[in-house]
């Protein structure tokens, strides 16, 4: 009897501890998600509370998926995720390998290398906006004095340079996450392994190839997935730097959704686009997790 009372008391306590977080998340995540999904099936386009006519329809999805802008936005989103992840992973791996060596001043180096992580996104965007200024920016003046280019690159006004610019800023903000995750993975490798390999005559390259990289396999997939999900949703960098332009050149799905909602005020269309985006990241994550687990276990 007492055992059951204690048990149920424990369970009640467990739920009571969860309750505040769940209540708040219910209000600001679950309820908005529910009404957002409903909105995407809503017939009338409404702004605020003035609902013209209620009714359910698939029209919003038909219009969104049938629009000529949808596929290019989707491709841009994927390209953005791919380029940023590849760039940030490369810099992250390089910096983590260096920081894993022991040398004087390592704590300072680690702090400096991780510093961009603490720079606010809008500030990072402002700095690069200035660095990439076509007339007086440092990037163009360096390119000209090195003789790489004769004409100044119109970084934010030409379509491909604008896309590259957006990727550069995002990579600069994203790589410290990889540095720290990979460094943690590297520091989990027992030193004995390296000593044993050295005794067996393995050089730097073979130790890297057969000990270090395999050990990182536990960390890399989760870091890539978390980063990819972040980049797929990323809004601030693109919005502040280019607003999705020039001529939609940097309009990802996230930007397209926001434009539809708060520039065109097509809330139902925007909701449908958002639901499609959610479905893509859901499917993408499931596939990624499957792929990762099949590959590594």
């Amino acid at each position: 009897m007492t055992f059951i009372r204690i048990l149920s008391g424990r369970t009640r306590f467990a739920y009571a501890l969860l309750l505040p977080a769940l209540a708040l998340l219910g209000l600001v995540v679950a309820y908005p998600l529910y009404s957002g999904v409903l909105l995407s099936f809503e017939k009338a386009d409404f702004f605020g509370s003035s609902l013209a006519q209620r009714g359910w329809t698939l029209d919003n999805f038909v219009r969104v998926l049938g629009s000529a802008d949808f596929l290019p936005s989707l491709i841009r989103s994927f390209a953005y995720v791919l380029i940023v992840t590849a760039g940030a992973l490369t810099i992250g791996l390089l910096t983590a390998l260096l920081l894993n060596e022991s040398f004087r001043g390592r704590p300072l180096a680690r702090m400096l290398i991780a510093l961009p992580w603490a720079i606010p996104l809008v500030v990072a965007t402002n700095i690069w906006w200035w660095l990439l200024d076509p007339s007086y920016g440092l990037v163009n003046s360096t390119l000209t004095s090195l003789g790489v280019s004769q004409q100044p690159t119109q970084w934010l006004n030409d379509q491909i340079p604008a896309f590259i610019a957006v990727c550069i800023v995002t990579i600069w903000k994203a790589y410290p996450f990889f540095t720290i995750m990979l460094l943690a993975g590297l520091q989990g490798i027992p030193k004995d392994l390296y000593d044993a390999a050295s005794v067996d005559g393995a050089g730097t390259y073979r130790r890297l190839r057969h000990i270090t990289l395999p050990a990182l396999r536990a960390v890399v997939p989760i870091a890539v997935l978390l980063n990819a999900l972040w980049v797929f949703r990323e809004f601030t960098v693109i919005w502040v730097l280019t607003g999705g332009g020039p001529v939609n050149a940097t309009e990802t799905l996230a930007i397209a959704t926001y434009r539809a909602a708060f520039q065109d005020f097509h809330f139902t269309l925007a909701a449908a686009l958002g639901v499609v985006t959610l479905a893509i990241s859901l499917v993408g994550s499931v596939v990624a997790v499957r792929f990762a687990t099949r590959d590594f276990y």
């Binding site: 209000l27 992580w117 606010p120 500030v123 965007t125 440092l138 720290i180 995750m181 502040v240 909602a261």
Partner: protein
């Protein structure tokens, strides 16, 4: 080790160039990666006429603080910083209190449905913020919270709380529960055990979580842009983005304002960086 095995004896001769190479690579990499931050500082100290000199000076010979005076006088930066600090304080407090108790519950009690709840909380990372912001905007309008910082405390919780719960759960998992059980045997309740034993032991994790939650909230732009209209109500992110799209851009002013808006985060980062490594990996790497 070295003295035992003869095969490693020739090493010391080859060590010196390797170390030199290591120091050079670290220095070059640090310089490149941190350069944009230096450039912000350098430009903010430039006199206005120096901005349009080509090529730009890598170090201004006579730095001036004019741009700081200009932006502090012309823009409500003090308001923006104050708003952001209020927002960070309130959001972090709400997030930590709810997340500590939720994470403790998920870590210690295998209550029915707890695993599902845990994964649902993790799955919020899949939600596009650009989707959530639409119904949240409608919600905030109907609650009359437009142009009110409370709307951002609520909205930022969508990101911060799930994050905090998972980070803290990772921390609590790593603390042996025998310590709490000892306290329970001594007659302390579960709540007492949580606050007297677990929370103090998890202090580094809680500090790391605070750092994250502060940076996420200070950074937040999407909700702020959507829910705030009047310049005096802006957060620092929103204020710093407002330089974009103006007719004339004085880069030294933009960089001075940006630097002012960055300093609190750099201070926090430098003070708390040592907690960050365990924090970022605590929830993710096992």
């Amino acid at each position: 080790m070295t003295s035992i095995s003869p095969s490693t004896r020739p090493r010391p001769r080859s060590v010196q160039p390797r170390r030199l190479l290591l120091y050079i690579s670290v220095a070059v990499l640090c310089a490149i990666l941190v350069f944009p931050i230096y450039w912000m500082l350098n430009t903010s100290l430039a006199p206005r006429e120096q901005l349009y000199v080509f090529p730009p000076a890598l170090l201004h010979p006579n730095p001036v603080l004019d741009s700081y005076r200009t932006v502090l006088a012309d823009r409500p930066i003090a308001h923006w910083i104050f708003n952001s600090m209020l927002l960070v304080g309130a959001t972090t407090l709400v997030a930590l209190l709810t997340a500590i108790s939720a994470a403790y519950s998920l870590s210690r009690f295998r209550a029915r449905g707890a695993t599902t709840i845990g994964y649902l909380i993790l799955a919020t990372r899949l939600l596009p913020t650009t989707l959530l912001v639409i119904p949240l905007f409608i919600l905030m309008r109907s609650l009359g919270l437009i142009d009110n910082l409370l709307s951002l405390v609520l909205a930022d919780s969508t990101v911060v709380i799930p994050f905090a719960i998972w980070m803290l759960k990772g921390y609590f998992d790593s603390i042996p529960r025998e310590l709490e059980e000892a306290a329970l045997v001594d007659g302390t309740g579960h709540l007492g055990a949580l606050f007297r034993i677990t929370v103090p032991l998890a202090a580094p994790g809680i500090v790391a979580t605070m750092l994250y939650s502060a940076i996420l909230t200070w950074d937040e732009y999407l909700f702020a842009r959507t829910f705030l209209n009047q310049a005096n109500n802006f957060t620092i992110s929103l204020g710093l983005a407002s330089f974009r799209g103006e007719y004339v851009t004085y880069w030294n002013d933009v960089m001075a304002a940006s630097l002012i808006g960055t300093v609190p985060m750099i201070v926090l980062f430098v003070l708390l960086e040592r907690f960050m490594v365990s924090g970022i990996t605590g929830g993710a790497v096992k």
